[in-house]
């Protein structure tokens, strides 16, 4: 890749890149509570981008994405707790576990289309919880508790780098030749096959990437909360929250997942601090999701592109 092609990546990628660099550069001076908030935001953004790969780009709605996050978390907890690995290595382990799981699950479930894929992934996520409850090495239903000596800045930089790589990967696979393949599969999988696209392989590739990043994010999440616990790790709410983020931000876009994460995560945190509203954040998110799904296809980014022509060339 020469300098010129690096410069020509377009304003959206530049914007996200500059945002992340500024965030990274100022992190040491960000006060503790705010750093925690931003770290949480980045973890969720990584998860949203991960779901965006398979659901936004390829068009396969997954209700069970939490499974990669949860096993990524368990991988870190096990690696750090039982094997004494460095947490960053634990995150890499989480990513590897997410990748391997996605390959295995994808090989079977990606044969199903539409609702059948959604249901199959949901069911696997539910079943996975029951299986984990029974694995002795993974805490036998009680989970794994880690020593909470967490260095907030290391957690922050790990997730920042993970997210940056993920956004770069999303950009790369949507702009290369494979991007045409992915868009074709989303458009009409049968037609894609009859034009020479190996849809099964491309879907599996994207799903594997998606599992990898969700696994890494799950690892960072477990590191951040010092442990992995079955009922909270496998909570379907996580899957649903990721989905809400990309629906609101704009499915299949490069900027949408980030916008969606900000739009869902920050208000949720604010709601949590107000006793009267605490617990109602998901009611509001749910209402927004309903309205967007029914009346505003394309989410925030899609709508901006549609109604403001100047944004069309800039936002993707």
């Amino acid at each position: 890749m020469n300098l010129r092609s690096i410069l020509s990546v377009g304003p959206t990628l530049w914007g996200i890149g500059i945002f992340l660099v500024i965030l990274g550069g100022s992190a040491p001076w960000i006060p503790g509570f705010l750093l925690t908030l931003v770290t949480g935001l980045l973890i969720w953004a990584t998860l949203a981008y991960s779901l965006n790969l398979i659901t936004g780009l390829v068009g396969y709605v997954s209700f069970g994405h939490v499974v990669f996050m949860a096993f990524g978390g368990y991988a870190l907890a096990f690696g750090v707790g039982a094997l004494n690995l460095h947490p960053v290595v634990g995150v890499a382990l989480g990513a590897a576990v997410g990748l391997a799981l996605a390959l295995g699950i994808g090989l079977v479930t990606l044969r199903f289309r539409g609702v059948y894929f959604a249901i199959a992934t949901l069911v696997i996520a539910v079943a996975a919880l029951y299986i984990v409850l029974d694995i002795e090495e993974l805490g036998d239903g009680k989970g794994i508790i880690l020593n909470p000596a967490v260095e907030p800045l290391s957690v922050f930089y790990t997730i920042l780098v993970t997210l940056a790589i993920e956004v770069g990967v999303t950009y790369a696979i949507t702009h290369g030749r494979i991007g045409y393949g992915i868009r074709s599969i989303k458009g009409d999988e049968d037609a894609a096959n009859t034009l020479g696209i190996n849809a099964a392989r491309i879907k599996l590739f994207v799903y594997a990437l998606s599992g990898l990043f969700a696994g890494a994010a799950g690892g960072v999440y477990a590191w951040n909360v010092s442990g992995a616990f079955p009922y909270s790790s496998f909570s379907l709410t996580f899957s649903l929250q990721m989905l809400a983020m990309i629906v609101i931000g704009g499915m299949g876009t490069l900027l949408g997942p980030l916008i969606g994460t900000v739009a869902v995560y920050l208000p949720s945190q604010v709601f949590l601090t107000i006793p009267l509203l605490s617990g109602l954040q998901f009611t509001v998110i749910g209402l927004v999701v309903i309205i967007i799904a029914l009346f505003v296809p394309g989410g925030i980014v899609g709508t901006l592109r549609k109604y403001i022509p100047e944004f069309r060339g800039m936002l993707e």
């Binding site: 290369g176 045409y180 074709s184 458009g187 009409d188 020479g196």
Partner: protein, 248 residues
Amino acid sequence: MTRVLEVSQVHKYFGGVRAVQGVSLAVQEGNVIGLIGPNGSGKSTLLNLIAGVMKPTKGRISLDGQRIDGWPAHRIVEQGIAKTHQIPKPFLAMTCRENVAVAAMFGSNKQKDQSEALETAGRVLTLVGLEGKADSISSNLTVQERKRLEFARVLGTGARILLLDEIFAGLSPEELRDAIGMFTQVQKEVGFGALVVEHVMRAVLTVSGHVVVIEEGTKIADGSPREVVENPAVIEAYLGAEAVHAPT
């Protein structure tokens, strides 16, 4: 080398329904073969079997002597055989140019370079007369234009044997005349071989050098267009027994 697609004794059963029963035919690069028959006679199924959309129950399909039956659709295209869809299936979110570029990138020629593929797409769209629509989103096309785009995409794959499923259906007489003219010219220029499934008799008899007729999954006639229309079995299959003595 001239490429040859050979279909021999191919059968396809859906549970108890025998959709195709022992059909054999051959298509050579450069030749256009018409495949006609009444509704539900198994024409589209046969194309799907060749294109790898479905697997034959038994029988043999080969390209230049190599067996390809049972291969997945995308590998068949890589080998140089591409099929249109009876109901056009454009990628609705893409422009026409992108639709065809996908075919160029992933089809038989596998043009890895995006800008080259987009150029190829532009040339192909000009061939089929869609150059004016190259940068329109394909969801804005009319039915007739979608049919042309479908044809452009198989051309874009660079395949040497095309399987064309009713690309002339639903056109007005003038549109049909234009479409036939366009097809004949493109065929001369590109020199592909084609198996053309068609309801519109006039179209199929004009464009093909050889016609195969199937009824209820079996081949009932085979010959030049002239021979076929005069064949009593064919007339009976199409128009019923009473019409045998009053051919059009």
